[in-house]
């Protein structure tokens, strides 16, 4: 089993950020998976000693910057998600891949809901329910990456 180093963590996050920064437009933008959040959640569940709440917070700050919104909104949402990911990380080893995916979906929805609440507080309009499509496409990407044909090693789980 390969040893995970910080280089893997930050390398994959950089890649996720690049995917996030692609000039998505129109319908593709509505369906764009949240690659950065996926990378964060993955490492939080797999290697919590390398990627902690602070890492998640900082990634969220980069998202704030990339979207051009008010600083701290995505950061808070990511930190909260990171906390929930880490605090149930041990228990997740008792789940199988599908139950894990369900938990990840919950984390993704939690992030988006936090963002919506913060944005509504800041005076933005509700963007419509299609906002949650990001979570749907994200979980599909998660499954595509974890399941056999591609086969990236999942976080510790029951077989």
């Amino acid at each position: 089993m390969p040893v995970i180093s910080l280089r893997h963590v930050y390398g994959s996050m950089l890649l996720a950020l690049l995917l996030q920064l692609l000039p998505w437009d129109g319908l593709a933008l509505q369906w764009r998976p949240d690659f950065l959040l996926l990378a964060v959640v993955y490492w939080m569940l797999r290697a919590p000693h390398l990627c902690h709440v602070g890492t998640a917070w900082f990634t969220g700050l980069i998202m704030d910057l990339a979207t051009g919104g008010v600083f701290g909104q995505y950061a808070l949402a990511y930190a909260l998600t990171g906390f929930f990911a880490v605090s149930y990380q041990r228990r997740l080893a008792l789940f199988n891949i599908w139950q894990q995916a369900a938990y990840v979906l919950f984390l993704l929805l939690l992030t988006q809901t936090t963002v919506i609440v913060l944005k509504l507080f800041a005076g933005d309009d509700f963007p419509g329910w299609h906002f949650y499509l990001h979570s749907v496409s994200s979980i599909l990407v998660w499954l595509a990456v974890i399941l056999p044909p591609f086969g990236v090693e999942a976080p510790p789980h029951k077989n």
Partner: protein
């Protein structure tokens, strides 16, 4: 980091560093402080500028495959498509040329009439061509990012137009790029004039794709479906007479004092990759129309009154 080399399966019973909950509390407090600082006190401007400069190369890398694809597609365009486009463009140029000849004459005439009236001259506003880097990533706002920034002397507030009409306004300038808020954004309002009858109003973005609102107009207002709205120019930012939107729907509700008027922007943000950023004209301070001024500053009151009454064209 020595901890990085620990085998993965060994659970670490001794938590290194603060607990997740302590971290959560700390970072949540930090985020809340950031949210307040950024939205209420403009202290984080330089911070954002610096970070954007760091993010810019990454953005360029992310855009590279698409630019390459576009360049390749352009290179491989079929011969007959090129000929066809060329023919179309020549035709268009000819038509525009005829109109331009008349425009030159009209401009000269207008200048002459204005000098007769004593109104100030229309200022020519130079513009710069910018390319769209990407559309806004935030579903909560209607924005896009273009490839000119502070280094290219772009200033916040500049109007952004394309060949058909107004697209929006530069709201934030980064070192090498700038953020344009589209006219459909909820935060942006634009002074307009109905082309048919010269009625002035202010159009607000509806916050949704391809929609503008004309609020606070009485139920009996003289606006019809299909009316074209153009910039009135009284703001001193947008040049006069640029197309903004077309009225698509009017709802006259008896229990509301105002009509609900919805419009569709004429400029197609999605259609082009290039846009024009129009420079903000230097506005001379108005003189003469402030009551109680000394007579020497109000030396030519008639001229400035004329200027003010000429539906804002003077600015």
């Amino acid at each position: 980091m020595p901890r990085a080399l620990e085998p993965q399966q060994t659970p670490s019973f001794f938590i290194h560093g603060p607990s997740p909950f302590a971290r959560l509390v700390f970072f949540s407090a930090l985020s809340l402080a950031l949210i307040v600082t950024d939205s209420r006190l403009q202290y984080l401007h330089d911070f954002r500028q610096g970070f954007m400069a760091l993010l810019h190369p990454l953005q360029m890398i992310a855009n590279a495959p698409f630019d390459l694809y576009r360049a390749g597609a352009e290179y491989l365009t079929a011969h007959n498509t090129l000929v066809e486009t060329n023919r179309e463009l020549v035709k268009q140029a000819l038509q525009n040329g005829v109109r331009l000849q008349r425009l030159n004459e009209l401009e000269a005439e207008n200048e002459h009439l204005r000098s007769l009236l004593g109104a100030s001259q229309v200022i020519v506003q130079p513009a710069r061509l910018a390319e769209i880097l990407h559309m806004g990533r935030d579903p909560f706002s209607q924005k896009m990012v273009v490839n000119l920034g502070e280094r290219h002397n772009i200033r916040p507030g500049q109007a952004v137009v394309d060949g058909d009409g107004v697209i929006g306004q530069v709201t934030r300038v980064y070192p090498l790029s700038s953020e344009v808020t589209l006219i459909t954004d909820k935060e942006l309002s634009i002074p307009i004039q109905v082309e048919r009858n010269g009625l002035r109003a202010i159009a607000f973005g509806a916050g949704m794709d391809n929609m503008l609102d004309l609020p606070y107009l009485p139920v009996n207002v003289d606006i019809q479906i299909g009316d074209r709205l153009i910039t009135s120019g009284i703001d001193g930012i947008y040049p006069v007479g640029l197309a903004v939107a077309e009225v698509t729907d009017i709802e006259r509700n008896p229990d509301s004092p105002f009509a609900r008027i919805t419009c569709r922007p004429i400029a197609g943000v999605k259609n082009h990759r290039q846009v024009l950023l129009i420079n903000i004209p230097e506005i001379e301070p108005a003189s003469g129309n402030i009551i109680g001024r000394q007579p020497d500053t109000a030396s030519n009151p008639s001229a400035s009154v004329q200027a003010a009454s000429a539906t804002g064209v003077s600015r």
